[in-house]
Subunit: 333 residues, 2 copies
């Protein structure tokens, strides 16, 4: 990735961030900010598409999410953190792009199809939800981002974005819009502690970056392992055993992890011991984040100010793109 | 109508205005500006929803439409004329309203259904076209307009707007949005000179406000009358006879019109005579407009400046509404 790569990423402020976000995206951002121009969006408008009846929840989580960013090392000197609702260029671009996408095309989007099913909308899909892939095309292209970190299930959104880019550039005989590449992080999908699904606050199977050392220990103790491993001396299975899945990711000493696995499979290693080791490993990662987070959380006004400063920068960038887009569309008076 | 009535109206700049616009809406605006707070929108963004491949056409017609407004007596001291594409609050409001309307609801909108059929979109409806009733709800509510002059076929758009208003105010426990009343003008639908359909530039059956006296005379000569009225001495029909339809509307002397009708039905009155009289009557109305129009058209920069000044005013009003809307949605940081 060259110095000139532009990254647009972000989160819906619907809950504070957890371990899945940390390894799935946040640590990646900490690395990428050193070499790329990175924009991180607090997607409050998008959060409202399926939380429009709980605006208080969205509002309350904005500062929480920024605290999480700062605590993990996303550095406002290197990364522009901004609030989506304060970027008027995004809805403007969305309006123009909506003319270039048919209803049939949006309805064929596999990401959207899955989500519509998950959310049980049936025939009652809010238009705003249907439009969100087009809204995301506006997010991405407003910054001329060429790299967008996404989960594998979100790749169709990037495809939709690039279709808009190609249509726009073709129809308006321009090259102002830039195609983006979706980058799927190595560890995009961390299992929840129940082993049933991806870690998610709403499924209550997450380890939050806010959790105290005690809460962390308690959650690991309740973690899903091998349900047939009843006595210490019995052999245990490591496939599907969440404790070992986590150790593969978070264990700092790969040899030690390999040793534990062997012993567990042979028999003679109890769950409690392995879990205690995992707690140690996770706490080594999370304790400094937790500490920094608590510091930042003491001054929410200052934390918010960071996003407001970033928003000013984001408005400069996106207004410049919007001006080019409008010029291409002859909307200049 | 009380002094406090707020009117939002406007036109898509897809062609210069014609006699149908004049009696259907423009003369009404000239009257209403005396007693109401009136905003007239040049709907360039909406024009693009079905002209997105011809942005030059939309751009070129903006000044044309403003010239038409000024020529008929819409007074920028009394009426705020503004450009839709320069009002960022409208797309922002549209985004929020889209969450409150389901796809099924939009698809049931009779106005939209008819237009989708007329335009032959089939399954390929652009999302932007589908969203335009929600976009119009944003136009109307951004100004807190309580009166919206519309064609009878557009009343479902007002109903959609009011549904958005009620949903928003209920969900966000507020009363910032105001319901609007659709007002159908007496003469909302003038037939084209071919007698086949409503007057429309795209159907090439219009009398433009720009037409010279000669063009006017030529168009009236070609007007649809009674196809069976072949000889002067024969009795003619006035039902469906466009010349008489126009005389009912534009004839300044109702007794004279009644006389002509009687004579025509009895026989002994030729089409040429009646048409010459109609030309006289129309020219009395159109000549001063044509003259003023030609004056304004000499300085397009100044004409445009009028809309730019109005746009500044419109931005003040709509940003104030947007701020209230965002406050109700807890989107204040």
């Amino acid at each position: 990735m060259s110095k000139k790569d532009i990254i647009l990423t972000g989160d819906r402020p619907t809950g504070s961030m957890h371990l899945g976000h940390l390894v799935g995206s946040m640590l990646n951002r900490v690395k990428l900010q050193e070499t790329c121009e990175q924009y991180v969006m607090i997607a409050d408008v998008q959060a409202l598409t399926d939380n429009f009846e709980q605006p208080e929840k969205v509002h309350a989580n904005v500062v929480e999410v920024i605290c999480d960013y700062l605590a993990v090392g996303i550095d406002p000197q290197k990364t522009t953190i901004f609030l989506q609702s304060m970027i008027p260029a995004i809805p403007e671009l969305t309006m123009y792009y909506m003319n270039l996408v048919t209803l049939a095309r949006v309805q064929r989007n596999p990401t959207l199809k899955t989500e519509i099913k998950q959310k049980g909308f049936g025939q009652n899909i809010p238009v705003g939800f249907l439009v969100y892939p087009i809204n995301q095309a506006a997010d991405i292209t407003a910054f001329k981002a060429n790299l967008v970190p996404v989960g594998a299930d979100q790749l169709p959104i990037i495809e939709q974005t690039n279709e808009v880019v190609r249509s726009f550039n073709r129809i308006y005989k321009t090259n102002v819009l830039v195609e983006a590449k979706g980058v799927v992080p190595k560890c995009a999908r961390l299992s929840g502690i129940d082993g049933k699904a991806k870690m998610s606050k709403s499924l209550n199977n997450d380890i939050s970056l806010k959790d105290s050392a005690d809460e962390l220990a308690k959650k690991v103790r309740n973690m899903y392992t091998d349900p047939n491993h009843l006595r210490v001396e019995d052999p245990g299975k490591i496939e599907g055993n969440i404790v070992f899945e986590y150790l593969d990711i978070f264990g700092s000493d790969k040899n030690k992890v390999a040793e534990l696995k062997e012993q567990y499979q042979k028999g003679g290693l109890g769950d409690v011991k392995v879990k205690n080791y995992l707690v140690e490993q996770l706490d080594a990662l999370l304790a400094p984040i937790r500490k920094k987070r608590a510091e930042f959380a003491k001054d929410p006004a200052q934390v918010l100010q960071i996003a407001l400063d970033g928003t000013r920068v984001a408005n400069e960038v996106t207004q410049a793109t919007l001006a080019e887009v409008k010029a291409a569309m002859h909307l200049v008076y």
